[in-house]
């Protein structure tokens, strides 16, 4: 039982990281119907931008700010130079997906090239604090709260702001949004900027949870997909819940009563993903065309 509680706590930590990443992915999918395979590498980009700031002597919370802005700008620039021109040429969603795979390879290996393959970290590891039922490191606690703040903030943005409502409107029906006089390209640009900021932030949380290395985001990406699909693709709230479930499921799979090697825990999450797609493709909370 003690072991299970600790594993659940660990799962919530990694699930929190996945959730922040998943919400960004889900926003882009909802608004653009694009499955962005480069999303994981934007997590890595955010983590390395923050690492650069830390290397310059900034504390992490200050280094995070330019990293988040950088992440947003990176996605915003790509919207301008890549995605928007491709949309205007009428590229199919499949072709956009293939482009995102190319983009992922480029971005990841530029990061490899610039930073080398060495694994680093923001700070030396801290010992766990015993919280009674389970123990967490101070970083774990920051991750859980940091993720919760971002998720609540995104939820409020979607529900309460005009641009958030417009994002949901676009996810519902892009043609109608255009016909209503919504400046669709501007809403899409905002979607990328917000997704970029969230993704960089998620990357920093991921770096805080483990280590910073050029493959970190790519390795997380399939788990992010799993979270998004489990929750119902295109549903931002579903993505949050799906991600937490994926985090907990994969940690619990290593419980000594099950005895699965730690290397295989991600396979369990992947299997859950495939089973969900087979049994309930719309996910737990998914409806047709929703954000």
């Amino acid at each position: 039982m003690e072991e299970a509680l600790q594993l659940i706590a660990n799962g919530v930590v990694i699930g929190s990281v996945i959730a922040v990443s998943a919400v960004g992915l889900s926003l882009v999918f909802g608004v653009l119907k694009l499955i962005n395979f480069a999303h994981g590498d934007f997590l890595t980009l955010g983590a390395f931008l923050a690492l650069t700031g830390v290397g310059l002597g900034l504390p992490l919370y200050l280094a995070a700010i330019p990293a988040i802005i950088g992440g947003a700008l990176a996605m915003g620039v790509l919207e301008k130079v890549l995605w928007k021109p491709m949309r205007e040429r009428g590229a199919s969603t499949v072709n956009l997906l293939i482009i995102s795979i190319g983009l992922a390879l480029v971005l990841r290996h530029v990061i490899f090239w610039v930073f080398g393959e060495r694994t680093r970290s923001y700070m030396p590891p801290s010992p766990r604090i015993d919280l009674g039922l389970f123990a967490l490191t101070p970083q774990d606690i920051i991750i859980i709260f940091g993720s919760a703040i971002a998720l609540v903030g995104t939820g409020l943005m979607l529900q309460k702001t005009r641009i958030g409502t417009a994002m949901r409107a676009l996810a519902d029906n892009r043609d109608l949004a255009e016909a209503s006089g919504i400046n669709v390209n501007r809403v899409i640009l905002y979607t990328w900027l917000i997704a970029g900021a969230l993704t960089a932030y998620g990357g920093i949380l991921l770096g805080l949870q483990g280590r910073v290395f050029p493959n970190m985001g790519w390795f997380l990406l399939l788990l992010v997909f799993a979270g998004v699909i489990l929750g119902g693709i295109g549903s931002a709230y579903g993505a949050m819940i799906g991600s937490l479930l994926i985090g907990v499921v994969q940690e619990l799979a290593t419980h000594s009563a099950i005895g699965l090697p730690a290397d295989l825990k991600t396979s369990v999450a992947f299997l859950v993903l495939i089973l969900v797609l087979l049994i309930r493709p719309q996910g737990i909370l998914g409806r047709k065309q929703a954000l």
């Binding site: 480029v106 399939l222 693709i233 290397d263």
Partner: protein, 304 residues
């Protein structure tokens, strides 16, 4: 130098076969398979394990490799039947990764695959076999080159004949308008499974040759990058064309290997630059010429 060119041509031939399988899935049937590396791996591992641990002779082990890949193809096809193209991309890439992780650390499985340590010593009989068929005058590399490219031609002819047949026309119909084919009373599901199975078997055979070429099997050889390389080759050559995989593979591996000779770049840097190049090439083809070198634009317009 000749040996070097031969080795490039061997790789190009092996990937041409691999892509012939992928092209059947994507180019001719319209299935978005991003887990192709799994079929490559299952072929290689089936042959490797059977040869080294069960002393299965050469030809049966080749056959078993293709059967195993076929079975995996059917398993992957089951979700493929029901899913939209983009979901299928996620599922297939995920199945590929599950497969690699199981080869690496799956309980029981690692007793046979030896986990991350990998398998060696399965290729002796393959190379020795050339004496039996009167090709003893070739060195091992020339022999592999001949076998690989003979296979490229045979698979190419097989696919050409199959795709001209009524069966092939149904596949192309599914690619262009699945609902219309269904309306004609064809069992679309069965055709998709058959396409997946045959393409997987071809990839499995490519995997066997790949194993013969590199001489050892390790799970981390079979990363998703292999799938992406196969995709790049297919897109480059032109998907849905018969010569596309061959032309694409030769060009791809020529460029790939040419980067080895860029002066003043370290080995690691060159490796990163090559990956950047592959990614950029994928993007560039889709942006500039989505139908590839040999493809025909009209067919691509129908692509949804």
């Amino acid at each position: 130098m000749i040996a070097y060119f031969q080795s490039v041509l061997i790789t190009a031939g092996i990937f041409a076969i691999l892509v012939q399988g992928l092209n059947l899935h994507r180019g001719f049937t319209g299935l978005l398979n991003f887990g192709h590396v799994a079929f490559f791996a299952v072929g290689a591992y089936t042959m490797g394990v059977l040869t080294t641990q069960f002393d299965v002779p050469l030809l049966p082990s080749f056959l078993a490799a293709m059967v195993a890949a076929t079975l995996l193809g059917v398993i992957v096809a089951l979700p493929a039947i029901r899913l939209r193209a983009d979901y299928l991309a996620i599922v297939t890439i995920t199945i590929g990764e599950i497969f690699r992780l199981i080869l690496k650390s799956g309980p029981v499985v690692t007793e046979y695959t030896r986990g991350p340590r990998g398998i060696r010593g399965y290729s002796t009989e393959f190379y020795f076999f050339r004496e039996n068929i009167g090709l003893g005058f070739l060195d091992p590399q020339q022999y592999l080159l001949l076998v690989v490219w003979t296979t490229v031609v045979l698979v190419g002819i097989l696919l050409y004949v199959l795709l001209q047949s009524p069966w092939g026309r149904v596949l192309k119909g599914i690619r262009e308008d699945e609902d219309a084919v269904r309306a004609l009373g064809k069992n679309v599901t069965a055709y998709k499974i058959q396409s997946f199975a045959l393409g997987a078997a071809i990839a499995g055979l490519a995997g066997v040759f790949f194993a013969m070429d590199i001489g050892s099997l390790a799970p981390d050889t079979y990363l998703p990058i292999i799938t992406f390389q196969a995709w790049t080759i297919m897109l480059l050559g032109g998907m849905g064309t018969h010569l596309g995989p061959v032309v694409g593979s030769i060009i791809f591996w020529s460029i790939f290997n040419a980067t080895l000779f860029i002066p003043g770049v370290s080995g690691a840097e060159a490796a990163y630059l090559r990956q950047i190049g592959i990614g950029a090439l994928i993007m560039l083809i889709i942006i500039v010429r989505p139908q590839g070198i040999l493809g025909n634009r009209e067919e691509m317009v129908l692509d949804r």
